[in-house]
């Protein structure tokens, strides 16, 4: 087939409109989050007295931090799907999250006597946390991968990892409202580990699914 013949076929197919990536992102991520939220309500559910607890600083902090990470990761993922769009700024903004967490840990270490540190760190729910966050993050991860496939990520495994982080952050935000371990030390260890699992999973999936 000559190149001008190929162009003829491409032009004919061009009449079929494709949804712009930006719209697709919303169209896929919203159902992904809704599925995750439904699974959450059906299995774990928020803690009792959720609305009274929301004023408790440690509890509010971990939920807000996970939501912040999800929002930052979402804008990063969206940019990663668009060739020629800079992503360094979006990646750099993610650093806010560990910085805030480190500050919270500093405050925790000052406020809590040192013989309780170990207990705060290990918590009571570590295994549930490690299972629940990836479980809740799977649907958002799938949605993010779907969007990236629609787009054109220049580095498939890397973009997949970002999608995994996004899924993990959404899973973490949901799980945070259930989890009884509110210490930022617990969050730093177990939530991070769960999100690292998701990130690795996303990278593996991305390397396979996002090539173009």
């Amino acid at each position: 087939m000559k190149t001008d013949e190929l162009i003829r076929a491409l032009a004919a197919d061009g009449a079929t409109r494709q949804m712009p990536l930006r719209q697709m992102f919303a169209a896929a991520m919203i159902p992904g989050v809704v599925v995750a939220a439904c699974l959450f309500l059906a299995t774990l559910g928020p803690r009792p007295h959720f609305f009274e607890l929301i004023a408790e600083p440690r509890f509010a902090f971990k939920i807000c931090l996970a939501l912040l990470l999800a929002a930052l990761a979402a804008s990063w993922v969206k940019r990663l799907g668009q060739p020629g769009v800079g992503t360094h700024g979006a990646a750099l903004r993610l650093v806010i999250v560990p910085v805030l967490l480190a500050a919270a840990i500093g405050a925790e270490l000052l406020l809590v006597p040192s013989d309780l540190w170990r207990q705060r760190l290990i918590g009571t729910n570590a295994l549930v946390c490690l299972i629940s966050i990836p479980f809740l993050g799977l649907a958002p991860l799938a949605a993010a991968l779907f969007c990236l496939r629609h787009g054109a990520p220049e580095h498939p495994a890397f973009a997949g990892a970002a999608a995994g982080l996004l899924g993990g952050a959404i899973g973490a935000a949901l799980y945070a409202s259930h989890c009884f371990d509110d210490s930022p030390m617990f969050v730093a260890v177990w939530y991070s580990l769960a999100m690292a699992i998701m990130t690795a999973l996303g990278a593996l999936a991305g390397a396979r699914l996002l090539r173009w």
Partner: protein, 185 residues
Amino acid sequence: MGSDKQEKEWAFLMRAGNAGDADSYRRLLVQLTPVLRATARRGLGAAGMADTDAEDVVQETLLAIHLKRQSWDSEAPFGPWLRAIARHKMIDALRRRGRRINVSIDDFSEVLTDGAAEPDMVAADVGRHLEDLPPGQRNVVRSIAVDGESIGETAARLKMTSGAVRVALHRGLAGLARKFRTEEP
């Protein structure tokens, strides 16, 4: 990869194409082709490879531009998007040909005014993958690409609805892109 004025024109044509204007879209692809061809030759040359494969890279890049056109944000400049796609497909092509490569972005940012002409003899091209498509898709792609029929004419001749022709065409083109990607060197 093109002058500012050229890139603005391409962005204009792409927006029109995305809004359903097939003629603008075809003009865009026709204008891009010589630029992509020159870039492909330079890229292959820089890697010490014969430029007989250049047309392969051109066709693969055109397919990628087409299949990924929704990843261009119509508010964004067109040049960086085009360069990123062309670079990605160039690296991919070189990697498949078994080279550790280092493609510099500069290779894709040169202003090109004179396009390169299509070679008369195309050693290998997208056509060889046509045979590997499922028959339904193959017939539709061939009818539109090689025989120059419209969607409507193809539908009438193959006794299909035009919707089915559109679906087969799109799947066929996506299949061609996939075959390029997974091809053994």
